[in-house]
């Protein structure tokens, strides 16, 4: 590669090489816990006066 492309490539991957795994780890940390299956609850009809 030409020197400017080579420099750009290595600078970019010095950053991306650290940032990309960090993004994935961060995403795993904030991963949503899937909602538990909730048993349906029958609602009592409101009492009429």
């Amino acid at each position: 590669m030409k020197k400017d492309a080579r420099k750009f490539h290595r600078t970019l991957w010095t950053v991306l090489g650290l940032v990309l795994p960090a993004i994935v780890l961060g995403a795993l940390l904030i991963k949503q816990t899937p909602p538990e299956t909730v048993q349906p609850v029958l609602l009592e009809p409101a009492e009429e006066d």
């Binding site: 090489g17 993004i23 994935v24 780890l25 991963k31 949503q32």
Partner: protein, 356 residues
């Protein structure tokens, strides 16, 4: 290198390469849809179009990760070079697989939208201010557009039309495309998929691509720090000490970093030495990592060839690169760091009986 325009200059290796790719992709899609369904969460039955969407999406991600590993792997070991040879076809196929994934997404999630499905794709989720529920689709769209641009401009016509440096810069966009894919998956399917295998495979792929490129960047930094030293000489030529003859394996090269950060490849061809610019005129490939085949320096990336003595491609091809002058003192090789105009003949330096 071609003198006539041809859509693809096919040869036996390209047929084999492409056949293996297509069969591997077809096998992956088939297995994912047929066998993968057994590993799905049975409490939530998965529709067939969703399975296809996941199959093509995961396939495109794996292909792109693998493509990005080929470059640094080839620097680690010559055995990976055949994978690099036809990497553009690999990339085009990846864009096609990603297009099928995008088509399933549009057809499943946006087909019954009250607005145009393309408009709905951009407007259905605008929660840009939150991490959970972030419209991860935008990253997928960006990556897909990038893949399409690169696939369309992958032909040598665009390489010569745009010039190799501009083409190379454009195609470095794939790194931003990959970063967008990682965000697309991390904020999208990774948040909703329960399957731990999915998370593990995703992390391993990203870690492999990141590590290999990070390693290559560090190696490059180290090589550049090892700048050749100026030599004490009586003439006006600013000779620099390039290395020892015994360091150069026959038909191979050593690469010398010059003070101006350019690199020169010094090849040994039997009992002579020749020096050329380390950058191939085709796609800026590292010539010094190639070897001499049939008397010509052969680029490890796509096989472009140059005669060691004048840096010109053999007729009828017209590419040419800069050459450099060499001098031998005992076993030490000295290089004149001033490049000669591309294609300039320099008489190869005989090794004589220095190295037997």
């Amino acid at each position: 290198m071609g003198v006539d325009y041809k859509p693809v200059i096919w040869n036996r290796n390209k047929y084999i390469y492409d056949a293996v790719l297509v069969v591997a992709v077809a096998a992956y899609i088939y297995l994912y849809i047929r066998v993968g369904v057994n590993f799905q969460d049975t409490s939530l039955p998965v529709e067939r179009p969703v399975m296809r969407m996941r199959a093509f999406g995961s396939c495109a991600f794996l292909m792109l990760s693998f493509i990005l590993c080929i470059g640094p792997l080839s620097r680690m070991n010559d055995k990976f070079l055949p994978l690099l040879y036809n990497r553009r076809h690999f990339g085009v196929l990846t864009a096609c697989v990603a297009a099928v994934h995008a088509n399933y997404v549009l057809g499943w999630y946006f087909a019954f939208s009250p607005t145009d499905r393309y408009a709905a794709l951009f407007s259905s989720n605008t929660s840009f201010g939150q991490v959970l529920g972030f419209p991860f689709e935008v990253f997928g769209i960006f990556a897909f557009v990038m893949l399409l641009i690169l696939a369309v401009t992958s032909h040598d016509f665009w390489l010569s039309f745009l010039s190799p440096p501009v083409w190379k810069k454009l195609h470095m966009g794939i790194y931003f495309g990959y970063a967008a894919v990682v965000l697309h998956v991390a904020l999208g399917p990774l948040q909703t998929q329960r399957d731990p295998v999915f998370a593990i495979v995703f992390f391993v792929c990203v870690a492999a691509v990141s590590f290999l490129h990070f390693w290559a960047a560090m190696k490059d930094r180290k090589e550049e720090a090892e700048v050749a030293k100026p030599a004490q000489t009586s003439d006006d030529i600013p000779w620099i000490e390039a290395g020892k003859v015994s360091d150069i394996v026959d038909k191979r090269a050593i690469v010398v970093s010059l003070p101006d950060e350019e690199r020169v490849a010094i090849f040994r061809n039997g009992e002579t030495l020749s020096a050329v610019h380390n950058v191939c005129a085709h796609q800026n490939g590292p010539l010094g990592e190639g070897k001499i085949v049939a008397g010509c320096i052969t680029c490890p990336w796509h096989g472009f060839q140059y005669k060691p003595e004048d840096g010109r491609s053999p007729a009828p091809f017209e590419e040419k690169i800069s050459t450099y002058r060499l001098r031998l003192e005992g076993e030490t090789v000295f290089l004149d760091p001033r490049p000669l105009p591309p294609g300039t003949f320099v008489k190869p330096t005989p090794i004589g009986d220095v190295n037997g």
